[in-house]
């Protein structure tokens, strides 16, 4: 038996893809991904129409998708994140059906429970053997973890591995095993390494970002959660990384050994592992080369699937064992609802990713954001889009003060005792608007271009077209 097919086209034919079906992609090759475009071009050339694309995230490298939508090849999009360039197209109303935004936990939950069944999954694989055992750790297009691809491989009716690095059977240390794979297509390149992972991610040098980061680390220190066995997730943004650096200093100074670092993993988290701040890293996605090297070589740095990471349908998910998560926001309102889907003008430029999952699971969910960006205040009366409900957010850290959600009185008292600069969120809003003025409300369009689906099901909010 041999699963190798001559081309992507042959894999599509053999998988019996028809009009109206659902296909899926993972986003581990990020903005360097070639696979989604290659597959979509082939499908379009074959005349297949009315497809649903379920992609764990969409980047601007996937701009040709807009053309396939306009031509009717794709009529529904299910995803967890859409980058700004492609997001603008959706916001301007290129698609009849609204985009279905899920979370990184909600997506595999709905795939595994059959709410969003996948007919054919296309799995870009930096290394694969002829039977389809595949891994992200090896090869010129290495991306490290392949956490988001597990649900697709396990639950799709047909699964096609697409690789540019065919190795001898059996591939050692594979991530996804052959029993889920139907076909293996070999191509020249699955992606551009420059866009797949960044070089060493650097922390911000922006003084305001550093002030926020230092405050974030102090909040964690004062929260009572920073002790042996501590677990932590942070984003790859400049201030979030700087917070990790400050936190590392505190942990080393106090001799605290945490249990695990979680999430999209950067070199900074790897440094914390090496320095003894954590016993393990649980990695659903690698952000930079240091993370890729680490997951390949260090057994303490473990790959996890998005189901294990965050799925509410799993028997247990790591997010529910998480102590602290640091998250970003494009806007946050006075009820602590957070927007990470749109910019302040209403254009789609992101998505929840693991935002709502970790916020719901972690004991302390912290938003770190400047008081204003490009003249616009971050704190508003009502966010343009609710991505993560305020009930799941504990604290907002800005350079102008730390606002604690009134639901968490204990945290407020702890921060007060630690003499941290606490400010009421309404006061923070007023303080910012004193500088920026109060922005006029952006009028909503009359067409729903996206629905934000709660990780537990149900529509959390709707995004309208931009006029």
């Amino acid at each position: 038996m041999n699963k190798i097919v001559k081309s992507i086209k042959e894999a599509i034919l053999l998988s019996n893809l028809k009009d109206g079906m659902t296909i899926s992609f993972h986003h581990h090759l990020r903005n360097g991904d070639y696979v989604l475009n290659m597959v979509m071009d082939e499908i379009a050339a074959m005349g297949i129409k009315d497809l649903t694309v379920n992609a764990s995230s969409l980047f601007d490298a996937h701009m040709p998708l807009a053309g396939h939508i306009k031509n009717g090849v794709v009529t529904t999009v299910q995803t967890d994140y859409i980058a700004a360039g492609l997001g603008r197209e959706f916001s301007e109303g290129i698609m009849k059906n609204p985009v279905q935004f899920r979370t990184h936990g909600g997506r595999p939950a709905d795939i595994s429970t059959g709410k969003t069944p996948i007919d054919v999954a296309f799995i870009a694989a930096p290394a694969a053997d002829p039977m389809g055992n595949c891994s992200g750790k090896y090869g010129k297009s290495a991306c490290g973890s392949m956490g988001y691809a597990f649900a697709d491989a396990m639950f799709a009716k047909k699964t096609v591995v697409i690789t540019d690095n065919l190795v001898e059977y059996p591939l050692q240390d594979y991530s996804i095993s052959e029993d889920y794979i139907d076909y293996v297509a070999v191509v020249d390149a699955i992606g551009d390494p420059k866009g797949i992972v960044s070089g060493t991610t650097k922390i911000t040098r922006d003084p305001v970002g550093l002030v926020m980061a230092a405050n974030a680390a102090k909040v964690i220190e004062a929260s009572g959660l920073l002790k042996d066995g501590f677990s932590f997730q942070t984003g790859a943004g400049g201030a979030s990384l700087a917070a990790a650096k400050f936190l590392k200093d505190i942990m080393l100074q106090k001799g605290i050994c945490g249990s695990f670092g979680l999430g999209g993993i950067t070199g900074y988290m790897v440094d914390m592992l090496k320095a003894g701040c954590f016993k393990n890293l649980l990695d659903v996605q690698c952000f930079d080369l240091d993370a890729v090297e680490s997951i390949k070589n260090d057994p303490r740095h473990m790959e996890i699937s998005s189901m294990q990471y965050a799925s509410p349908a799993s028997r247990s998910a790591v997010v529910n064992s998480l102590d602290v998560v640091i998250l970003g926001a494009t806007e946050i309102d006075t009820d602590f609802n957070v927007n990470v889907h749109t910019d302040s003008n209403g254009y789609i430029m992101g998505g929840s990713g693991g935002h709502s999952d970790t916020a719901a699971g972690a004991k302390l969910s912290m938003i770190i954001a400047p008081m204003m960006r490009a003249r616009l205040p971050i704190v508003t009366d009502r966010v343009t889009c609710v991505s993560t409900p305020g009930k799941d957010i504990d604290v907002l850290v800005t350079q102008g003060g730390i606002a604690v959600n009134p639901k968490n009185a204990e945290l407020r008292q702890r921060l007060k005792d630690a003499k941290l600069p606490i400010i009421d969120i309404e006061e923070l809003k007023a303080k910012t608007e004193k500088i920026t003025g109060t922005p006029r409300k952006i009028p909503k369009g009359d067409k729903v271009v996206a629905e934000v689906i709660c990780r537990g099901g149900g529509v959390l909010d709707r995004i309208y077209n931009v006029k």
Binding site: P207, V208, L210, V211, A214, Q399, G400, K419, K431, K434, I435
Partner: protein
């Protein structure tokens, strides 16, 4: 007013000015001099004036570095900013008592002309020439408006024709001379910034050295240095404990009608008491150490 750290912010950078009070410094120095090119002097002056006019900088004290008295800008700087009551005017290239008095007199003239209260804004001569160092005491005692001296090592080392080093041997004399001159005149004295923003260890050493020499505080050109400077120039818990012990010993001595008292075998005299009082007052302002007094 506690001034452990003073952070220079370029007067032509709105983003930094907006965030002035968020950067952790006890005082910020809005810079109209070296950070601003001649073509932008007027724009920076207006920006700094408007920042002082409209922004609430909370507890962060504002100092303005104007241009030196040998430029065409300095009077316009004072005209524009004095009405907004900066705590201090930092006067660059002060080489003599006369330089300080020129600025002092003009500030008084503007105060009178605009009906402002006299002397609300103090003067802090920036000593950054060999002549300035040699004239330090005369400058420090030039007038009641002179509230502090400020050492500027970059220009000073150029004037001394030597290389500025991290270790700072070349400015040892100037540092000691300024501390002695300022203390003799009964005013404060501030140390030059540590200019390597990437040397996280170096700033600790340089700030500790300044504190040990007797400086009141230290300036910084990088927000990253502020926290270190604040930490070094804050009293330690053991210093605070000792200060309370001194005050307790003095109280007991008074109760017992004793004129002199020893603590740990050392006589407690007036300077020790004065230092203990300063330590306790600083600790209380910072909310650190004992809260029982």
């Amino acid at each position: 007013m506690m001034r452990r750290s003073m952070l220079f912010l370029p007067g032509n950078n709105p983003n930094m000015l907006i965030n002035a009070s968020c950067l952790g410094a006890d005082a910020v120095i809005f810079d109209l001099e070296d950070a601003v090119s001649p073509a932008e002097k007027d724009a920076a002056r207006i920006l700094v004036r408007n920042t002082m006019r409209y922004m609430d900088l909370g507890g962060c004290e504002v100092i303005v570095r104007i241009n030196s008295v040998d430029t065409p800008y300095w009077k316009m700087d004072i005209d524009a900013l004095l009405p907004h009551k900066p705590a201090l005017i930092l006067l660059p290239k002060t080489a003599s008592k006369e330089d300080a008095l020129i600025a002092d007199n003009y500030m008084s003239e503007v105060e009178e002309r605009l009906g402002l209260e006299t002397g609300v804004t103090g003067l802090m001569p920036l000593i950054e020439t060999a002549a300035g160092v040699e004239n330090a005491y005369a400058i420090a005692s030039a007038s009641p408006r002179v509230k502090a001296l400020f050492l500027g090592a970059e220009d000073l080392t150029a004037d001394l024709q030597c290389k500025r080093t991290k270790e700072g041997r070349e400015i040892e004399y100037a540092r000691c001379r300024l501390v002695v001159a300022a203390r003799a005149a009964g005013i404060d004295v501030y140390d030059t910034p540590f200019t390597d923003v990437n040397d996280d260890e170096g700033i600790w050493e340089d700030a500790r050295l300044a504190k040990n020499l007797g400086f009141t505080g230290k300036a910084s050109i990088s927000p990253r240095h502020v926290e270190v400077i604040n930490s070094v120039f804050s009293p330690t818990v053991s210093e605070i404990d000792y200060a309370y012990e001194v005050m307790e010993a003095i109280r007991r001595a008074k109760e017992q009608g004793k004129g002199a008292i020893a603590l740990y075998g050392k006589m407690i005299d007036a300077p020790i008491v004065a230092r203990a009082e300063r330590t306790i007052s600083m600790a209380q302002a910072l909310g650190i150490g004992r809260g029982d007094n």
